[in-house]
């Protein structure tokens, strides 16, 4: 009796990785999933923070995919190691601050380390040639295999027939004829395969899973680095880029204004880390000040805070300013009118 082979599948939570894993399961291979958490993953966070997203399910799609597949899922925190990928991407950025090719190389490299540590035989991904402009092209897919060190242990079941044979195919661990030849950005073959497998409810994939592909988010990250004069971040930094209006009146400080109750609740957790303020005389949002503001700057921040509260049309409003140590004082300011806030202040 031949040994049952074991593969680890990179599970993003999207349809392609779900289909790739099931394709290999169907060939009798034992599959487990691995999901890497960079800190920039979209799902979960915005759902947890923003009230407006309450209608959407809060499920983690990678966990959900694993459950559909009946496989274990190993979620790996790569926040620290990922910093170097984002800050110094060998292959550069995509349309925004997304280092997609370096990211995929790094994840496959981590998966390679994982299979070695856990005695698995090969790695599978849901990549499809031509599906994405940076990491899923005919010329970049071999780069991923080579630079990750996975080489021919990396099998892409959805487009394997368009690629050179890998070790699992040569050794007969999987039957190449039962793999697929998908290519391009079209989704019809995937939808048909999902139908064949009986998957009816799945996350809509392709590019929407990482904040770094988002222009607005990327602009905020670049602004953060620019204001600090160096490319660095910690987890709290990148979390806070996901919430609120970010307004930078001057290089030395930025104001983050909650847009809704969910964001305000989330920001409450950071009140000891930032000077923060809210309107005392009217209902209004919580705002936090990042940087090194002067007293005059805090008055500008207070005017901004007033702008987004119910006292926006009042002649004067009272704003309570809290220092990091909890000391409070109240100032009276005139709220900014909409046209008084220069557009370039908005990050």
């Amino acid at each position: 009796m031949s040994k049952q082979r074991k593969a680890v599948a990179l599970i993003s939570g999207g349809l392609d990785s779900l289909l790739a894993a099931r394709t290999i399961q169907e060939q009798g291979v034992h599959v487990e999933g691995i999901n890497f958490y960079t800190g920039f993953c979209v799902e979960g966070h915005t759902h947890a923070i923003r009230k407006k997203d309450k209608a959407t399910p809060k499920r983690n799609n990678a966990l959900w995919s694993a459950e559909q597949l009946g496989i274990k899922l190993h979620i790996v925190d790569i926040i620290e190691e990922y910093k170097d990928v984002l800050i110094n991407p060998k292959h550069g950025y995509g349309a925004n601050m997304n280092p997609c090719l370096d990211c995929k190389i790094f994840m496959v490299q981590k998966a390679k380390e994982w299979i070695k540590e856990n005695d698995f035989d090969f790695i599978i991904t849901g990549e499809v040639i031509g599906q994405r402009p940076m990491s899923q092209r005919k010329d970049t897919m071999p780069v991923i295999a080579t630079e990750s060190g996975a080489d021919d242990l990396l099998l892409r079941p959805l487009c394997a027939q368009n690629l050179p044979m890998t070790l699992p195919e040569r050794e007969g661990w999987v039957d190449r004829e039962k793999l697929h030849n998908f290519s391009g950005r079209g989704r019809k073959p995937q939808m048909a395969l999902a139908n064949d497998f009986g998957f009816e409810d799945f996350a809509q994939p392709a590019g929407g899973c990482c904040f770094l592909t988002d222009k607005s988010y990327s602009d905020k990250l670049v602004d953060l680095w620019s204001a600090r004069g160096r490319k660095e971040y910690d987890l709290d930094d990148i979390m806070l880029l996901k919430v609120g209006r970010h307004i930078r009146p001057k290089d030395n400080f930025k104001v983050i204004v909650a847009r809704e109750d969910g964001e305000a609740r989330f920001m409450q957790g950071y009140k000891k880390d930032f000077i923060n303020m809210n309107c005392a005389s009217h209902r209004g949002p919580l705002a936090m000040v990042d940087g090194a503001p002067t007293e005059e700057d805090l008055l500008i921040a207070a005017q901004l805070t007033a702008r987004y509260g119910q006292g926006r049309d009042a002649e004067e409003v009272e704003i309570t300013i809290r220092e990091k140590d909890g000391a409070e004082r109240t100032v009276t300011v005139k709220p900014f009118k909409g046209d008084e806030i220069p557009k370039e202040w908005f990050v």
Partner: protein, 74 residues
């Protein structure tokens, strides 16, 4: 059998799941872990993680802004 508590407050999913996963790795079958969180997403994610990894959710508690999941390591 031991009972331990994991403070995962202020963390957003999937971090509470990752912290739970890392904690459970160091525990024995039958041990009980209480995970205290502030992200409501854990009410879906930690039970899902338990189901696929063979652990048992004994109780879930929602209290204002806190969400507690008590699980038995499988």
């Amino acid at each position: 059998m031991s009972k331990e508590t994991l403070n995962a407050k202020r963390l957003l999913c999937p971090l509470p799941v990752i912290r739970t996963q890392d904690k459970v790795k160091k525990m024995q079958i039958g041990d009980v872990l209480e995970v205290v969180c502030t992200d409501p997403g854990v009410m879906q994610d930690i039970p899902a993680w338990c189901r696929i990894n063979g652990h048992k959710v004994l109780e879930t508690i929602t209290d204002e802004m806190e969400y507690t999941i008590i699980l038995e390591v499988g």
